[in-house]
Structure formats: C-alpha cells, structure tokens
C-alpha cells in the first residue's frame, strides 16, 4: 500500500531548513544535515540554499571542503513571523 506524502509549500520547506540551521546553533548546519532534516533532494537543497543566501536569511561559511550555514538576524525574525502565521493558519484549519 502506497502512502501519500503530505504536501509541503515552498515557504514551509524554507522554514524547515531554517529551523534545522537554528537547531544547530553556533556550530552551524552542514548541507547533509539540512538535506536529511528538511527531506530534500540534492538539487532542491542547492536551489533553496541559494535562495536563502540571496534573501539574507542565512550566511555561508566555507572552511576548506566544509560548508556550514548560519542563521542571520533576518532569518531569526522570519522564523518568529512564520511561527505566528503557522498558529493563525492552524487555528482556522489551514495548512501553510
């Protein structure tokens, strides 16, 4: 029996990625961690990370072959706003 995967909007995926990065705190999150936690393909991950950097929600730190991602102040503020919207939507039974 096949199980239907729940639909996730783009903004929800971006919020999931930001939450993963936030959870890693000062150490920052590597791409593999984000990929698994946000349940993404590699291509999608690259595309969304570029978008998050472009929107200044995260910043990238390259150390040799290692890449780490950190939440910016704008990213933290986005997550706070997103949480509020999630509560409002959930109250009316709307998935975001």
């Amino acid at each position: 029996m096949s199980r239907k995967r729940a639909y996730r909007s783009k903004v929800r995926i971006l919020a999931d990625m930001l939450r993963t990065i936030q959870a890693e705190g000062e150490d920052g999150a590597g791409p593999t961690k984000i990929l698994y936690a946000a349940n993404l393909s590699h291509d999608r991950l690259t595309q969304y990370i570029e978008e998050l950097i472009e929107k200044e929600l995260i910043k990238e730190l390259i150390d040799g072959d290692n890449r780490s991602y950190f939440l910016t102040q704008k990213g933290r503020e986005f997550l706070i706003e997103y949480r509020k919207i999630e509560r409002l939507s959930q109250a009316f039974g709307i998935d975001v």
């Binding site: 909007s9 706070i80 509560r87 409002l88 939507s89 959930q90 109250a91 009316f92 039974g93 709307i94």
Partner: protein, 208 residues
C-alpha cells in the same frame, strides 16, 4: 422616557457593532499578511471573508446613524442596509466554509467565487441561510480543533459558535423593548465571538 431607553440601547448596539467590525478588520489584515508570506490562497479567502463581514457591520452602523438623524426619509435606505448586511454576512460565511475546509489538493478558488453568488440564488430568509452556513463552519472548526487540539483552534471554534448563537437569537422579531433586549443579546454574542478571534490573534502574535 421609553424612547430615551430605546435610543440609548441603539447607541450601545452601534458601539458593539463598530468594535466588532474593527476586530473583523484586524483578523482580515493579519490573514492578508499571512497570505503575503505564504501565498496560501485559503488565507486570502479568509481575509476576504472577514473584510466582507466588517464592511457589512460598518454599513449597518452608517445606515442606522442615517436613520437616527433623518428618520422620516430613511426607511428605504435602512431597508436596503438591512438586506445588504444579511447578504454580506452570508457571503462571508460561505467564504469561511471554503477557507476553513481542511484538505489542500482538491481546493479550488472557484468554490469561493461560487459561494459569493450564493445569497442571490437562494431564498430571502437570510438568517436561516446564515445559520445553516454557520453550522457547517462551526462543525469544520470543531473537527479542526479535535484534530490539532490547540488553544488557537479552540478560540476559533468558540468564536464561530458564538456567531451562530448570535444568529439564532437574532431570528426573533423585534416588536417591543423586551424583544429588543434579546436582539441586543444576539449582538453581544456576535461581539464575544469576534472578541474570541481577537484573543486568538493576540495569543498567536506573542513571541515565544
């Protein structure tokens, strides 16, 4: 003396309506902000629903004020305002049915557009229609609460339930001061329903 009491009660009624209209406008604004960030169409419909509701409330207040200032010539205007108010409420509730219906993939914005036409296709018994629509909304919000078990969903369920109570009380024919008190009770229930949405908004806007 009795006419003074009636005018005082009408003023209270109007104040309640204005505050309720402002709250509906606030919910509409926050739903619109949420739509701006998420592009979730249902949030846009929710915003439209509360906007239509608040416009109806403000329209009724303006119509009643017109009646109070020039009662001799206001009969026709007030008649139109009352019908328009009922129609706008029905439009808002029809939109709420589509917006609060759970499930994403089968949702089409055409449902909301069809819902907007509903009042013009049905009988003039506006309150009966409003009650039937609100029963659906209340059941949907109850199912949502049973599913997510959050206090925010509870506030929404209580809010819509009070709006339903308000319409049930509002069905009474106002013929004297006693029945007008019952009508005021319906206005109060409506206000408390919208106040419940306001409390939900305040709680949802809190930083963790």
């Amino acid at each position: 003396m009795q006419s003074q009491i009636v005018f005082a009660l009408i003023r209270i009624d109007l104040i309640i309506e204005v505050v309720a209209g402002i709250i509906a406008l606030m919910v509409s604004h926050y739903a619109n902000v949420a739509f701006g960030l998420t592009r979730q169409k249902k949030l846009s419909d929710l915003s439209t629903g509360f906007l239509v509701l608040s416009a109806g409330m403000f329209g009724r207040v303006i119509g009643t004020l017109y009646f109070l200032t020039d009662p001799a010539n206001a009969d026709r205007v007030l008649g139109i305002v009352i019908v328009a108010y009922g129609v706008m409420k029905i439009m808002a509730y029809a939109i709420f049915i589509t917006a609060t219906h759970r499930g994403q993939r089968k949702y089409h914005s055409n449902y909301a557009m069809a819902a907007l036409a509903l009042p013009f296709l049905t009988s003039p018994e506006l309150d009966v229609i409003a009650i039937l629509l609100l029963i659906v909304v209340v059941l949907q919000t109850l199912m949502n609460y049973a599913s997510v078990r959050s206090s925010f969903a509870l506030y929404v369920f209580v809010g819509f339930t009070l709006l339903l109570v308000s319409h049930i009380l509002g069905m009474i024919n106002v013929i004297d001061l006693q029945t007008y008190f019952i009508y005021l009770g319906s206005q109060l229930a409506q206000f408390l329903g919208l106040f419940s949405f306001l409390v939900m908004l305040r709680q949802a806007q809190k930083d963790e």
